[in-house]
């Protein structure tokens, strides 16, 4: 007997039938659908691939080479006109492992707007007065390892129902005669409605730190274009290794934070107590796309330090490596100078 498995339209996790509610529920994101709803949604998904899109997907698979890094396992995509020689992440040589296969073709892309020269200048500016980075981190050799990389991103459009109740207090105080008066007005705060978020990004690359990618947000989605192989020319692209179901917890957390923030803004002016907040995801649409990042990694004493720059807006973020030797020398010299000066002054005043 064949069994049919339905995937959650929100997070792509397996749906299970709940006899109590007579609904298919997602244990992962908490969504619930009737059988009719899920059949309709799945049918729509199956019928949503027009012939032109299918052709583009085929072209993508034919003209995209996949390179594999034996050292760290990274998989890098490049068009068939260029050859990837080293891994953007661990800087070890990569080998051609074949043509692309599977559903890795992105639907949209934002092209690079920051040139390599500007990226290098931004990196130098970011280093700025960080005197304690290792010299090799600032070397030209290291700078040449900066890679123009299209990072795979899952973008989620979330529709949420918000229901919020809390007790709010507003106080004022005044003095009259020998007494200090405090008047507190108590309100029941009720908020409910829909919060819609468009394009919450989460990178589908496990090697690059999620926080680093979040730090170079936001991207201006008005520059989103339909994916074309021509955008890859001169750059590399990463193949996603984190599915949308795996990034959904991050998306959910960010969406909930946004809802918290919206609600907090709406009750500004009150001292809030006993809040009861419920956020329910009623629909999530996913988009898979490539976003431009100038990326550099640096292995220092067994730890990988990453620098990233938004290839569209130029926003930079990263963790600079700290040379403990340099820092110890500097702080030791300051400490020694204080000791010597203090000893001489103290001895002179004794």
């Amino acid at each position: 007997m064949d069994s049919i498995e339905y995937k959650c339209p929100n997070c792509n996790a397996d749906l299970k039938f709940d006899p109590d509610t007579q609904k298919l529920t997602c244990e992962f994101c908490g969504s619930a659908f009737t059988v009719e709803e899920i059949k309709r949604l799945c049918a729509a998904a199956e019928n949503s691939i027009p012939p032109s899109v299918a052709a583009a997907q085929e072209e993508f698979h034919e003209h995209t080479n996949l390179y594999h890094c034996k050292s760290c396992g990274a998989e890098i995509m490049a068009d068939d006109q260029q050859t990837a020689t080293f891994c953007y992440y661990c800087h070890n040589p990569v080998i051609l492992s074949g043509k692309m296969a599977g559903s890795y073709k992105p639907s949209k892309i934002i092209g690079f707007k920051i040139s390599r020269d500007k990226a290098e200048d931004a990196f130098k500016g970011w280093l700025g007065k960080r005197f304690f980075v290792p010299n090799s981190f600032k070397s030209q050799q290291q700078l040449e390892k900066m890679t123009g990389l299209y990072v795979p991103f899952w973008l989620a459009d979330c529709n949420m129902e918000v229901d919020y109740q809390a007790e709010g207090r507003q106080s004022r105080s005044w003095t009259s005669g020998d007494y200090r008066y405090t008047e507190t007005k108590v309100y029941r705060l009720l908020r409910g409605g829909n919060v819609v978020m468009n394009g919450i990004p989460a990178d589908g690359e496990s090697k690059i730190e999620d926080a680093l990618m979040e730090a170079i947000e936001p991207y201006d989605y008005s520059d989103l274009k339909t994916f074309s192989m021509s955008y890859l020319s001169g750059f590399f692209a990463d193949k996603y290794d984190v599915d949308k179901s795996e990034v959904f917890p991050r998306i959910r957390q960010r969406a909930q934070e946004a809802c918290h923030s919206v609600i907090a803004d709406s009750v500004n002016g009150y001292t809030v107590s006993s809040p009861n907040e419920q956020i329910r995801f009623i629909g999530t649409n996913w988009h898979y796309m490539l976003l431009p990042v100038w990326f550099m990694s640096y292995n220092y004493k067994g730890k990988v330090y990453e620098f990233a720059m938004n290839g569209q807006t130029g926003k930079v973020a990263g963790t600079p490596p700290l040379s403990k030797g340099k820092l110890a020398l500097f702080s030791g010299a300051i400490g020694l100078a204080i000791t010597i000066i203090g000893t001489l002054i103290g001895g002179a005043l004794a």
Binding site: R180, L189, I334, I338, G342
Partner: protein
Amino acid sequence: MIKRLASLISAFVICFVLFPLSCFESHAEMLTGYPPESTIIDEAGIYDDDKETFDDLNKELKDTAEELGLNLIIFLAGTKRSDEATMIFADDSYDEIFGEDTDGIFYYMDDTEAFGLFDYISTSGSAVLKYEPHKESIFDSLDFYLPSSGEKIQPEMISNAIHRYLRCLKSYSSEEISPFAYHYDKYKNTYAYYTKGQYTVSDHKPWFVYVIPFFKSLIAGTITALIIALVTKKNYKFKGSHDPKSYIARNLSKFTVNQDVYIRTDTHRTRISSSSSGGGGGSHRSHHSSGHSHHGHHGGGGHHR
């Protein structure tokens, strides 16, 4: 006429400038011609009529000097000298009699029956380090026996004071001198201290003066270095932030329920309590203590009666 006057003034100015300043220094008063031995010198003539008592006191002094290994002089002053002249007189007289930086004490007891009596203890050699910390205690204990300013001097008062003074010297002689003890003679700009058990007078500070400041500075330097290291390490941590609301579709998001339902008003009142407190008073004490020497390194301190 004007030229002559000008040249005269010029010559006077030149002579005044070139004239050695030392020529103006008056010869410092000091005791001369005394043999280098411990004794009581009775300038005031207190014991002129009681030679026996004087001899007994002198013997007691010599015995004490021999016991302590110190040169001791007790000078019963009959001439009124200024405070500074007294200090110079005591320091220089000691050096003249016993030599510079020898171990001993010159006790100048003002027995002039004048107002503003000023006693002075001049220490030399190892006595500087041993007795400098106890000068005030010695003076305080002698105040009980010695006459106040303007009071008539009785020989027995002086005798009792001398007995007491010698007992004080004996009692303080047994106290250990700290290995970090030193004395600075501000007039000679010299330091007296022990180095490897030897009494030393030097124009350099002893090394141990720097020990405590060194350790204090070492702690301060270490704390500063640690703070620099910690702050720098913090600055080298990853810093990233994003606005959670940046992806909200404002035109599609709306509250269908947005109510602030009034429930009640609570009013409290508290009596304002006032309190006040006053500060305390303080006392101010002044203290006079000095050492002065034209020759050897001296410690010393004066005391007004």
